[in-house]
């Protein structure tokens, strides 16, 4: 567990950050996912299974966060501005910010596929395993995401 955390926590936090938009929530999501491993000893026994498991767990928790935000957002204090927003100001390049903001408008599944493919550089098979969908779905979802992204960016420009 210690080794898994040491090797992959940072990468997973960055992945989660792309999904939820802010570092504190991303850190919580990843820590929570690792804590969830506590009860999954089978995953720990076979290290080959542990990373896909924890990656799926991170994405599942990101979904929960986003779902709760969308339902309860109006009644709760706002979370930190997402990294792709203009007010966050961490991203120097306006073009990169525009791309990330457009990605944030895509449906959740498309955002997950994009992040796993173009950020984590995972092969299609691994993406399919992580999201528990078929390779065909990965491929078609990616194509749809890129097409939608092109439209969104064209509209903005």
């Amino acid at each position: 567990m210690g080794e898994l955390y040491q090797r992959h926590a940072l990468g997973l936090i960055r992945l989660a950050r792309l999904m939820v938009g802010d570092t504190p929530t991303a850190e919580d999501v990843v820590q929570d996912a690792f804590l969830g491993l506590h009860g999954k000893r089978h995953a720990l026994r076979d290290p080959g299974d542990a990373l896909p498991y924890v990656r799926s767990a991170v994405l599942n928790r990101c979904r929960s966060v986003l779902r709760r935000r969308s339902v309860a957002g109006r009644f709760l204090p706002s979370y930190e501005p997402p990294v792709w927003s203009a007010e966050e100001g961490a991203l120097q390049s306006a073009e990169h910010r525009q791309v990330l903001a457009a990605i944030a408008e895509l449906p959740r599944r498309q955002r997950e596929v994009l992040a796993l493919r173009y950020y984590c550089d995972l092969p299609e098979e691994e993406i399919a395993r992580t999201l528990k969908i078929t390779r065909g779905t990965v491929s078609s979802t990616t194509a749809r995401a890129i097409a939608s992204l092109a439209q969104l960016l064209e509209k903005d420009s």
Binding site: M1, G2, E3, Y5, Q6, R7, A9, L10, I13, R14, R17, L18, T23, P24, T25, A26, E27, D28, V30, Q31, D32, F34, L35, H38, R41, L44, S64, V65, R68, R69, A72, L76, P77, Y79, E80, V83, W84, A90, L91, Q92, S93, E95, H96, R97, V99, L100, I103, L114, A115, Y118, Y119, I146, L149, A150, L153
Partner: protein, 191 residues
């Protein structure tokens, strides 16, 4: 690969540069604004174990980024492929086999003996939790990671054995032999 795909890749890479540089320990950082969704059922018992993960990450980053030619035994020296770090169980260990207990003196002695008895092993050094802590804090401060140094407390780091073997090809076998021994939490062989 289309231009748009390249752009997506670049944007993700840019987002990474303003992200965290190091994974945090679970509970050793100031509370920030959080959503209402957080449940840390095991936060307290595993906080220190996660700190260990952080620390090991920090140590390996240090090793990778600041090699010092000739140094083999220090945390800031290069980690040779013929070296293993054997972390022992501590009350904060996440490994279920540790049962949340510190390694007993008997188990520790048995691990040390079995290491020294192996012909492929050249040297064995025991590093106490206090020594690990002092060395870690010093190294973090020296590279400007004051926040990380402050977040660690004495006792957060488990004791370890640092083992050197003559032939790097012996590392996987030794690692397999040690993993699962009573009192052993994690065996790390970093290439």
């Amino acid at each position: 690969m289309t231009a748009l795909e390249d752009l997506v890749r670049d944007a993700y890479a840019a987002a990474e540069t303003c992200g965290p540089a190091i994974a945090p320990p679970l509970d050793d950082r100031p509370r920030r604004r959080r959503g209402p969704h957080l449940r840390h059922r095991f936060a307290v018992p595993v906080a220190a174990a996660a700190t260990v993960g952080l620390i090991t990450t920090g140590v390996f980053q240090l090793v990778r980024t600041e090699p010092e030619p000739g140094g083999l035994r220090t945390l800031s020296g290069p980690l040779a492929t013929n070296e293993l770090w054997i972390y022992l169980c501590a009350h904060s260990s996440m490994n279920p086999a540790c049962r949340g207990r510190d390694t007993t003196p008997e188990d520790r002695a048995a691990i040390g003996r079995s290491l020294r008895d192996r012909p492929e092993v050249i040297s064995v050094a025991y590093v106490s939790p206090e020594a690990e802590f002092a060395e870690f804090v010093r190294d973090m401060r020296s590279r400007g990671d004051e926040a990380v140094a402050r977040g660690v407390r004495p006792g957060d780091l488990p004791p370890s054995f640092r083992v050197t073997v003559g032939d790097p090809r012996d590392v996987p076998g030794l690692r397999a032999a040690l993993t699962g021994m009573p009192g052993v939490d994690t065996v790390i062989a970093e290439n």
